[in-house]
């Protein structure tokens, strides 16, 4: 997999660690990131590019909010709910945050069971993760519906600065799309795990390549990233 050079004993030579390791990896005439498989490196590079996209959204939102002279709606009140006669600020977003964190927990455990080749537990944990993700998207649909009913639009809202609507739909919409794609990705990989594709070395339908249990970790990286982005949205959009 990751090794490109093998010694006569069939094992890869020891790679230097620390700064010496960085220099050796980057100066390599074979491939950078020794001991890191292509699949993982490419997912990380994709996530880095996605980080830039989300950074640009959050930055534009910050710039709009800081430069407007019109009052910004108070998210604490906008996202409050009345539950059992009690008015609780921001409760919907708090519950969504806990659901997404829980999905990250089950995903991390799925990766672990995947490397132990425990097919049933891996698939079950991935499906639980997908269920949490679907619940999150469902709650987001409820949140969007509520706000649209209250008159929030990408070009305006009843409480002040019109950029609030644009920022809200853009940022949460893009994040919700990521969650939705993640749920589909999770179900697809869970099916492969359950069917034993990675034990039987069955070839993929589209790629004709053999899959490995590492794909569970790679898709886990994507899923944790979705949770990671939510940490920033929660702090910078809802708590500000």
């Amino acid at each position: 997999m990751a090794e490109t050079v093998l010694t006569h004993s069939g094992q890869s030579p020891a790679r230097p660690e620390g700064w010496r390791g960085i220099a050796a990896d980057w100066a390599s005439d074979q491939r950078a990131f020794k001991n890191v498989s292509w699949g993982k490196a490419m997912m990380w590079i994709f996530l880095l590019s996605d980080t830039f996209i989300f950074s640009c959204f959050l930055l534009s939102y910050m710039t709009a909010r800081m430069s407007t002279t019109v009052p910004w709606p108070n998210p604490s009140e906008v996202f409050a709910l009345n539950i059992g006669g009690n008015h609780i600020p921001l409760i919907l977003i708090a519950i969504m945050t806990f659901i997404l964190i829980s999905s990250s927990g089950t995903m991390a455990m799925a990766v672990n069971f995947g490397y132990r080749r425990d097919r049933v537990r891996t698939a079950a944990l991935m499906l639980v993760t997908a269920a949490f993700g679907a619940t999150f998207v469902g709650m987001q649909a409820f949140e969007w519906t509520k706000l649209i009913m209250e008159g929030v639009r990408p070009w305006g809202n009843p409480w002040g600065a019109p950029q609030f609507g644009a920022s809200f739909f853009m940022i949460t919409g893009f994040h919700g799309t990521h969650v939705t794609i993640g749920v589909i990705f999770l179900i697809a990989i869970a099916r492969k795990v359950l069917r034993g594709d990675f034990d039987l070395e069955r070839r993929g339908f589209f790629t004709s390549r053999k899959g490995y249990y590492e794909i569970v970790e790679i898709m886990g990286l994507y899923w944790h990233f979705v949770d990671l982005v939510w940490v920033f949205i929660f702090a910078l959009f809802y708590l500000w």
Binding site: F33, K34, R116
Partner: protein
């Protein structure tokens, strides 16, 4: 795959024990005790609750902001380091991925200054006299 590799694959290790000795194991997949994930999961719950309470108790000013940003960074750090296994990856990859987002901070600084200037001009020229 050699017997040695198979043996290493099934092996578990505590993350606290240096990365150097266990680098070969990681090449065969990230394996850490389930308990570690549960502990991190618990911490993420605690930190999220703290973030929520900052809003619930209606803290304001610098206290609110330092707390919100602190909890945000701690949560992000736990997710990246443990759930995404960055703590055990090769340094070359870690720096390649983590340094660019830190550079984004420069962009943030520029835009904070820029938006404050825009706000200043708007107040100066467009604000309705009261």
């Amino acid at each position: 795959m050699t017997n040695a590799a198979v043996h290493m694959e099934g092996q578990l290790h505590a993350p606290a024990h240096g990365a150097v000795a266990t680098a070969a194991v990681h090449a065969k997949g990230q394996q850490h005790p389930i308990r570690l994930y549960l502990v991190v999961w618990g911490w993420l719950f605690v930190l999220s609750t703290c973030s929520y309470l900052v809003d619930y108790f209606g803290l304001h000013g610098y206290l609110r902001w330092s707390l919100i940003l602190l909890f945000m960074v701690l949560k992000a750090g736990l997710i990246v380091a443990v759930f995404m296994h960055m703590a055990w990856e090769r340094l070359a990859l870690t720096y390649a991925i983590l340094l660019p987002p830190i550079a984004v901070m420069v962009f943030v600084t520029i835009m904070v200054l820029e938006s404050e200037y825009t706000h200043f001009l708007r107040v100066l020229f467009f604000a309705t006299p009261s």
